[in-house]
């Protein structure tokens, strides 16, 4: 996976979360806190692992802690992706 934008990450995350929750992607608000989504920590970690495979780099263990919404996490990942791209 090359460099990703915040919009691409956000779309990927919303689709995955919607699939897990059995909802339409339009029903997942990007500004909502992960702990407010009807998703337990096991499901969140499974998605995080899947995302690492998609991105091709590991997320820091504190990424979900410090960036607790889809929107914030997507922006963080885009920055990380740019950093990885720059050092690749």
């Amino acid at each position: 996976m090359g460099k990703v934008t915040a919009g691409e990450v956000q779309q990927w995350l919303i689709e995955k979360i919607a699939e897990r929750l059995g909802e339409q992607p339009s029903a997942i608000p990007p500004g909502q806190y992960f702990d407010e989504l009807d998703m337990d920590s096991t499901e969140a970690l499974i998605i995080a692992g899947e995302m690492e495979s998609w991105l091709g780099f590991e997320l820091g263990t504190t990424a979900l802690w410090y960036h607790p919404t889809i929107e914030a996490l997507s922006a963080h990942i885009a920055e990380e992706s740019a950093r990885h791209g720059a050092t690749a």
């Binding site: 992960f34 096991t42 690492e52």
Partner: protein, 313 residues
């Protein structure tokens, strides 16, 4: 995962389930995370209605979560956690929550600590003044912070042991029993995890489409919690208990071969041991385990003692 940084929804360290009736005891349970804190409703419901019940939830302590996720930044100690618990406990007692607790009518408290919560329930007891202490500390499948079980900084955990515990954990979260197949000696952790993923999916403990990357992330988070607890207990030197200890092991315990899980060394006022149905995690979930545990708590007016039998194979 971080919760909303909103003071109105900040989780509370002390969660009150029920006030004590006049003259009745209050049970304080120390919850170390890993399972939802709401599961303590099972034990609260199995106790006599007059018994007060509150949970001291470490999930409400941000430094505790951060110590697992970002250990390189953490300066957390058992002593600091005990300070927080002591402050919350004393504030609750000062509120007069227990209606008659501490007013000379004989009512008191019993501490219960599940897993690492047992270490903290013991530490809290030793931090308190004699008049503030509970009648007993009840340890639910809790391993003692003694030499036999302490790990030095950076020491890895035996993968075979951790995988067995992780299988229990996955099953408990979904009400399934994961029976991991024997792993050939020399199998690396990733290959063993792949086998466990198949077993967990077959048992219904994980969704059928769970990818290996997700399984790795789950295992990483699970072991981060164990390593955090090992780091916390490594420099900790507990005092012998000033109150009686009661160890209630799960039938399928973390360490089946040790009946006291190391607490004999710290039992300055005696130690009794019991067993309840379930494994390390389901002992907090199964109604029969909650009933059995409730009957074993040393309350002034105890719950009826429940005898349990293992199901026939």
């Amino acid at each position: 995962m971080a919760r909303r940084p909103d003071a109105t929804s900040r989780p509370k360290l002390l969660i009150r389930h029920r006030q004590a009736a006049p003259g009745a005891d209050t049970v304080y349970a120390v919850h170390p995370g890993a399972l939802p804190v709401g599961l303590w409703a099972g034990l609260a419901g199995a106790l006599p209605r007059e018994t007060g019940f509150a949970v001291l939830d470490l999930g409400a302590v941000p430094e505790y979560g951060e110590a697992a996720l970002a250990p390189e930044l953490s300066r957390l100690t058992v002593g600091h956690l005990v300070d927080l618990l002591a402050t919350a406990y004393r504030a609750d007692r000062a509120d007069g929550d227990g209606l008659g607790d501490g007013d000379g009518d004989g009512a008191g408290t019993v501490f219960v600590g599940w897993s690492f919560g047992g270490v903290l329930a013991h530490g809290l007891t030793e931090r308190l003044e004699p008049a503030e202490r509970p009648r007993a500390v009840v340890l639910l499948d809790s391993i003692a912070p003694t030499d036999a079980y302490q790990h030095t900084e950076g020491e890895p955990i035996d993968p075979a042991i951790v995988l067995r515990w992780f299988a229990m954990f996955l099953g408990a979260r979904r009400g399934a029993e994961v029976r991991p197949r024997p792993v050939p000696p020399g199998t690396d952790t990733d290959a063993a995890l792949a086998l466990l993923l198949d077993d967990a999916i077959a048992a219904g403990a994980l969704p059928p489409d769970t990818p290996m990357a997700g399984m790795r992330k789950l295992f990483e988070a699970y072991t981060a919690g164990l390593l955090r607890n090992n780091r916390l207990t490594a420099p900790y030197r507990p005092a012998p208990a000033a109150v009686p200890l009661v160890q209630i092991k799960a039938a399928d315990s973390l360490v089946p071969a040790d009946p006291t899980l190391g607490w004999g060394e710290l039992a300055g006022r005696g130690l009794t041991t019991h067993s309840v149905p379930g494994d390390h995690y389901t002992m907090l979930i199964r109604p029969d385990a909650s009933q059995a545990t409730a009957g074993l708590l040393p309350l002034l007016r105890p719950a009826p003692l429940v005898t349990t039998r293992r199901p026939s194979p």
